[in-house]
């Protein structure tokens, strides 16, 4: 009885698996299929990829992707198909274009601004005489005195 309960408990999740079984016999197509569905957002439940989602929009989109793959479409053509219908937001990694340029370049720009700020602060401090000491070193000194 206990063994049976354990067996049922362990196998229950299989019953809820998303699209059980392989979609393609060809391992190369299967690999491309799995790559694409983990790169595409399920628009109905935006924090899940098509691969993770059981929402019926995800089921429909997986079906469309399987159809396109079996028609011999390339990955780029399939991404185009999705972007044309749902916009760049459908892709977890939006492609570089005029619209998404800000998205891609903003982190680099922020990093650059940070680097410039860091360099200028370090340069300024290096220009100070060693014993000049600003507020911070005064504070440190006081702490050292007390210990």
């Amino acid at each position: 009885m206990r063994t049976l309960a354990l067996f049922l408990l362990l196998t229950a999740p299989v019953a809820f698996a998303i699209d059980p079984g392989r979609a393609f016999d060809d391992p190369e197509l299967q690999a491309r299929y799995e790559e694409i569905i983990s790169e595409v957002r399920c628009l109905q439940c935006q924090n899940e990829s098509l691969k993770d989602s059981n929402a019926f929009l995800a089921v429909d989109l997986r079906r469309e992707i399987r159809r396109l793959l079996s028609e011999g479409k390339t990955n780029a053509e399939i991404y185009d198909f999705l972007v044309q219908r749902y916009g760049e937001f459908a892709l977890y990694r939006p492609r570089m274009s005029g619209k998404t340029m800000l998205l891609w370049l903003a982190p680099l720009a922020l990093l650059g601004m940070g680097a410039i700020a860091a360099v200028s602060i370090v340069r300024k401090r290096m220009a100070l005489p060693l014993d000049a000491g600003d507020d911070e070193t005064d504070g440190d000194a006081r702490v050292t005195e007390r210990t």
Partner: protein, 176 residues
């Protein structure tokens, strides 16, 4: 004043409006990439009669609404009364795209609540919905006489939404 104090204040002054605007936007509302582009053509079995078809040819040449609905969709129940009122005005034809629904239940719904649609297409597999970039229901597309998507509304239609987002666009489309 020294740049050292001015800079954080300036950054604060820029960030606050960005946050105020950004936080008031609903991240689940995506702009349709079809706005200003031709709506995809389709032909589907009619909801009422599987032997008949309903498709984009039915409203070609007229300004029309395509409303995505389903009996499982709570928002569709909310907007139904408004759709009925809109249909009574006989100002603009409303076509339904019944999305991934049960035919019997959908017909019951129309019988019980009234049928605001000129015709409803029965998209059981969701293929046309995917072509149209539908990702929730209700969604309402405003289609121009030349088949261009003029506007897409996500969520239930109300009188308020109608007046602010649809009326001017419809008048402009007819003026041409």
């Amino acid at each position: 004043m020294n740049l050292r104090y001015l800079l954080p204040i300036a950054a604060f002054g820029i960030l606050i409006p960005v946050f105020i605007i950004g936080l008031q936007r609903d991240p689940s509302e995506l702009p349709s990439p079809y706005i200003g582009k031709p709506a995809p053509a389709f032909t589907l079995p009619s909801l009422e009669d599987p032997d008949l078809t309903v498709g984009s040819d039915d409203y070609a040449g007229r300004v029309a609404l395509v409303n995505v609905w389903a009996t499982w969709c709570v928002g569709c129940r909310h907007e139904h009364d408004f759709l009925m009122a809109l249909a009574k005005r006989e100002d603009i034809p409303i076509y339904g795209l019944n999305w991934r629904d049960d035919r019997e239940e959908a017909l019951m719904w129309l019988q019980r609540l009234g049928n605001p649609y000129v015709a409803s297409a029965f998209d059981q597999e969701g293929t046309v919905a995917v072509d149209w970039g539908v990702y929730g229901a209700p969604e309402t597309f405003l289609i121009g006489a030349d088949g261009t998507v003029l506007h897409k509304h996500l969520g239930p239609l109300t009188e308020q939404v109608w007046e602010s987002d649809f009326q001017a666009k419809i008048e402009a489309a007819r003026g041409n």
